[in-house]
């Protein structure tokens, strides 16, 4: 033990490597004469001449690294299998980039639309939607978005699914009209020549880069823009919409299908795009490849029906020409959303901010409350049932105690599902308990007790299942309480009750605390038992989480519910620490 113990910071009862460091620090601070021959005004030096503080720090660092290496496998395991998934769950509860990734241009156009004005979005929004949706449908990600938006507005799922199918029709009509003017308009090669421009023409790198980004997120593969198609700068300036649509198509073909766009049938989107461009573009001065074909088309443009994307969408589905779906898209376009958390507390995100869910859909808050209350009840009944058993175990001779302990542990070794199903057999109306009661004449045959598929059933089954988690910590704490204390109390004149309540019980409280935390935290996340015996009024929030994970696939909401549950547990743990003190908890 150190000679200057008590002067440095952090001196504990036992010597530790840190003590030495603190001593060194204390020594250098306090200007104590060094023990061996170094000059008294300089820092204390080790045998090899380096300052003692430094050399100690190095030795300690080495030790710490070695310790860290020893626990590294466990640390990495915990990190990968526990911390990371929890982090992922937290992130999922707010992540919402699917809308902006699937409909990038639409989201941009919609940003300027005033959803409160009760009008349809302007034509450019419909135009952007057509091109976004077309490529999304090619990548088969429009239905995914439909599923996502259906969580917010019922009917979006089929709206997106059906629209994706009908979207081709619009372009087909124009394709025919173009073909009638010049047969080359339906050939991939002609389009490729037109869009590429002359071989040495400058490329529109910004268009290529923007489309590479969009296509890459849609097909979920990274794309380097320089490897893909880029239109000539002249064409990109002259026909911006067409250049955009063509570049997207070309990149999709190149990177998703591995095809050469020049050899493939062009997409139907190109025709409406070119028609829209020709409304403003003056192509008479253009001299690049296929200029003649383009100019003939521009001249014959009057024969082709004017294009209106709004009307086209109205034809695809009437639901597009009401404001509601657009409002939903606009509201949920942000990349990070509070929407799932609002849903988790029976609210929802509207264009005007957060609002309460309709009353007949409010269920989650109630389930949270029920989960907490019932977990407390289960914890309470575990304490009441477990304490006498633990007391008995701790105070019986070893031999008998061991046999009893096996009886406590036996159900622990049985499958959870078996134990829960056994309660079903016991508690149901034609079950063992009811049969016995009827046989004894305590209950009439036609008024058998309802003991399952309700809260009672859940409490009984879960108390039974969680009881060992209460008994074991209590037992191990009670074993350490010396019987002489109670004897001393009695010899001083205490009654049995006083001796127990004033002397024994306070010493067993840490066991109750440990058991309570264990049981409560386990109970709050229970899923399978409430599902089987809980009926409708005995189910927990976890059952809802399971529904959203495996049935509705609303993982964002499930993650938000899980995050709230985690936060509640941590909060309760913190409260417990403040009130009881976590140091008072003993597991053995």
């Amino acid at each position: 033990m150190s000679t200057i113990r008590g002067t440095g910071p952090g001196t504990a009862d036992a010597p530790s490597p840190d003590d030495a460091l603190h001593e060194a620090a204390a020594l250098s601070d306090r200007d104590v004469p060094p023990p061996h021959g170094a000059p008294s005004d300089g820092p204390m030096l080790a045998a090899d001449g380096t300052p003692l503080k430094k050399s100690l720090a190095r030795a300690l660092r080495l030790q710490k690294t070695r310790a860290l290496m020893l626990i590294a496998p466990l640390l990495i395991f915990v990190l990968i299998s526990f911390i990371v998934p929890i982090g992922q769950m937290l992130w999922r509860s707010v992540e919402n980039d699917i809308v902006a990734q699937t409909l990038p241009h639409t989201v941009q156009e919609l940003a300027g639309w005033d959803s409160a004005a009760n009008e349809l979005p302007p034509e450019p929004v419909f135009e952007a939607m057509y091109f976004d949706m077309f490529i999304a449908a090619e990548a088969k990600s429009h239905t995914k978005l439909g599923t996502r938006l259906n969580y917010e507005q019922t009917g979006m799922s089929s709206l997106f699914r059906q629209s994706g199918r009908k979207l081709d029709d619009l372009g087909k009509d124009y394709q025919k009209a173009f073909k009638a003017i010049d047969g080359d308009w339906s050939k991939g090669e002609a389009w490729f020549e037109l869009m590429s421009g002359a071989a040495d023409a400058p490329r529109a790198a910004d268009v290529a880069a923007a489309q590479a980004r969009n296509v890459a997120t849609l097909i979920d593969t990274p794309i380097a823009a320089r490897d893909g198609f880029a239109p000539s700068q002249e064409i990109a300036d002259l026909l911006p919409l067409t250049a955009r649509a063509y570049t997207a198509m070309a990149m999709f073909m190149q990177f998703e299908d591995g095809d050469d766009p020049a050899g493939e049938k062009p997409w139907e989107t190109l025709y409406p795009a070119l028609l829209r461009d020709l409304e403003t573009a003056d192509v008479s001065a253009y001299a690049g490849p296929r200029a003649g074909m383009l100019q003939t088309l521009a001249a014959a443009r009057g024969d082709i029906e004017q294009i209106s994307f709004t009307d086209a969408f109205a034809e695809i589905d009437e639901d597009w020409v009401v404001a509601e779906p657009w409002r939903t898209i606009q509201t949920h376009a942000r990349n990070v959303t509070p929407g799932y958390f609002l849903n988790a507390v029976d609210m929802r995100l509207t264009p005007d901010g957060a609002a309460a869910q309709p009353e007949d859909k409010q269920i989650l808050i109630r389930l949270f409350q029920r989960t907490l209350v019932m977990s407390l009840v289960i914890m309470g009944s575990c304490i009441l049932l477990g304490y006498p058993i633990a007391y008995l175990l701790a105070n019986l001779p070893m031999r008998t105690a061991n046999i009893l302990l096996i009886l406590v542990l036996l159900p622990f070794w049985t499958s959870l599902l078996v134990r829960t199903s056994a309660w079903k057999v016991m508690l149901q109306q034609q079950g063992v308990i009811n049969d016995t009661l009827v046989w004894l004449g305590l209950v009439a045959d036609e008024s058998r007790l309802v003991m399952i598929n309700n809260q009672f059933g859940t409490i009984v089954a879960m108390t039974h299942i969680l009881l060992p988690f209460m008994i074991l910590p209590m037992y191990s704490v009670m074993q350490t309480i010396p019987p002489s204390y109670v004897r001393a109390a009695k010899s001083l004149g205490a009654t049995n009750w006083t001796a127990f309540w004033r002397v024994y019980f306070p010493q067993s409280v840490p066991g109750i605390g440990a058991g309570s935390i264990l049981v409560f935290i386990l109970a709050i996340g229970y899923y399978i038992t409430p599902e089987i015996v809980g009926g409708t009024k005995g189910v927990f929030i976890s059952n809802r989480i399971a529904y959203h994970i495996s049935s509705s696939l609303n993982w964002g909401l499930a993650a938000a519910l899980g995050t709230i549950l985690l936060a509640v547990v941590l909060l309760l743990y913190w409260c417990y620490d403040k009130i009881v003190g976590i140091d008072n908890v003993k597991l053995g």
Partner: protein, 372 residues
């Protein structure tokens, strides 16, 4: 920043998938192995006898069974996000197939080139007809959700209409219904006087949903809600309920195999489909083998063979005449098929489109109503 984020995300997803798909990962994919996912129990056994064994004999492929169909959608999504799909062919109900197709998790199938034609040359598309409810889905069986009742608990007038479920005066006792809105809402409306063809128009509206729930409210105290298909057969066998809904194949085994005093009430049975999907993201050779298996397992004879082992109707029209005797009981299977004309006098077809849209919305209301 973005790329770090993406890397972290990929790592997270791998972890999640590894946890979700842990058991499946253990079986590595050798050249002649394929993992087929199904529901387990008697149903998997019927597939083993009708499809797997003959296919293994023919090709030498080892088939590994995984009974994970109940969580197939969630697991496939996790596997896909992690980029490691370990399943080759998955058996799912049609509603799940539509979800998987919507999410891009199931392969689109061209029935004319990738499925076998009927023996008389009818193309697969015509042979399956309307049952091809999704581009990714190859139907296998038609099953129905219908009611069974205890013959010894209904007195002298056994029920003939589904509305007996709502008539607690004539048929006192508990009933078991599935703990979800699908089917129950339709039955409630039909017994509340809505014509069958208008059910979904009514159910689309908030008032219609309230109306259905109000009808269900009249028997709420008499209902035991089930979530596993085996619950109702057990409750019927125990005499816990006087009648209950479940899948017709489960009732068949209660009646014919276990000889319980239970009878079928085929009225207003709801047809649903079960079939195969092939996950996306398989390597080309695994995909080719999965397609080869599907081609074999969904041909006319194979579908008819399955009906020897379980009382579900084959999805191909051309299979119906080939349905014969039960392999073990030796009874004629045709009268036990949900599609038999005597049983199919009044039927509903599961409305996939409607429930894909309204499921979450109505489910929230239904659960809130249940919790009250």
């Amino acid at each position: 920043m973005e790329s770090t984020l993406m890397k972290t995300k990929a790592l997270m997803l791998t972890t999640a998938a590894a946890l979700v798909a842990g058991p499946a990962l253990a079986g590595s994919h050798m050249a002649s192995e394929m993992t087929i996912v199904s529901w387990g129990g008697a149903y998997s056994k019927s597939q083993l006898n009708a499809y797997h064994n003959p296919y293994s004999e023919m090709t030498g492929t080892t088939i590994i069974n995984d009974d994970s169909s109940a969580e197939a959608v969630a697991k496939l999504r996790a596997m896909n996000e992690a980029g490691n799909v370990t399943w080759d062919v998955v058996d799912v109900v049609a509603a799940d197939a539509i979800r998987l197709c919507d999410e891009g998790l199931a392969l689109e199938i061209d029935p004319d080139t990738q499925l076998a034609a009927a023996p008389d040359g009818t193309s697969a598309a015509d042979d399956f007809g309307d049952l091809l409810v999704s581009d990714c889905f190859i139907p296998q069986i038609v099953y129905s959700t219908t009611f069974g009742y205890r013959t010894d608990m209904v007195g002298d007038t056994p029920p003939t209409s589904v509305c007996a479920v709502f008539d607690t005066d004539a048929y006192p006792g508990k009933r078991s219904l599935e703990k979800r809105p699908i089917n129950n809402m339709e039955w409630a409306l039909m017994c509340d006087g809505v014509a069958k063809e208008n059910v979904y128009d009514v159910l689309e509206t908030s008032e219609g949903q309230d109306r259905a729930l109000a009808k269900l409210d009249t028997i709420k105290d008499d209902v035991i809600w089930w979530s596993a298909g085996a619950d109702t057969p057990q409750l019927l066998a125990d005499g816990e309920v006087v009648m209950g809904s479940t899948y017709n194949g489960r009732l068949f085994s209660v009646i014919e195999e276990q000889n319980q005093p239970v009878a079928m009430l085929w009225d207003a049975q709801v047809f649903d489909l079960d079939g195969w999907i092939i996950p996306t993201g398989l390597s080309p050779e695994r995909e080719a083998r999965a397609l080869d298996y599907i081609m074999f397992a969904t041909d006319t004879q194979r579908l008819a063979d399955q009906a020897k082992y379980i009382s579900y109707g084959p999805a191909r029209m051309s299979s119906a005449p080939l349905v014969g005797m039960h392999a073990e009981l030796g009874i004629d299977m045709a009268p036990h098929m949900p599609t038999d004309p005597n049983n199919a006098a009044n039927t509903l077809l599961y409305n996939y489109e409607f429930w894909a849209d309204y499921r979450d919305d109505i489910d929230a209301k239904f659960q809130a109503w249940l919790a009250q």
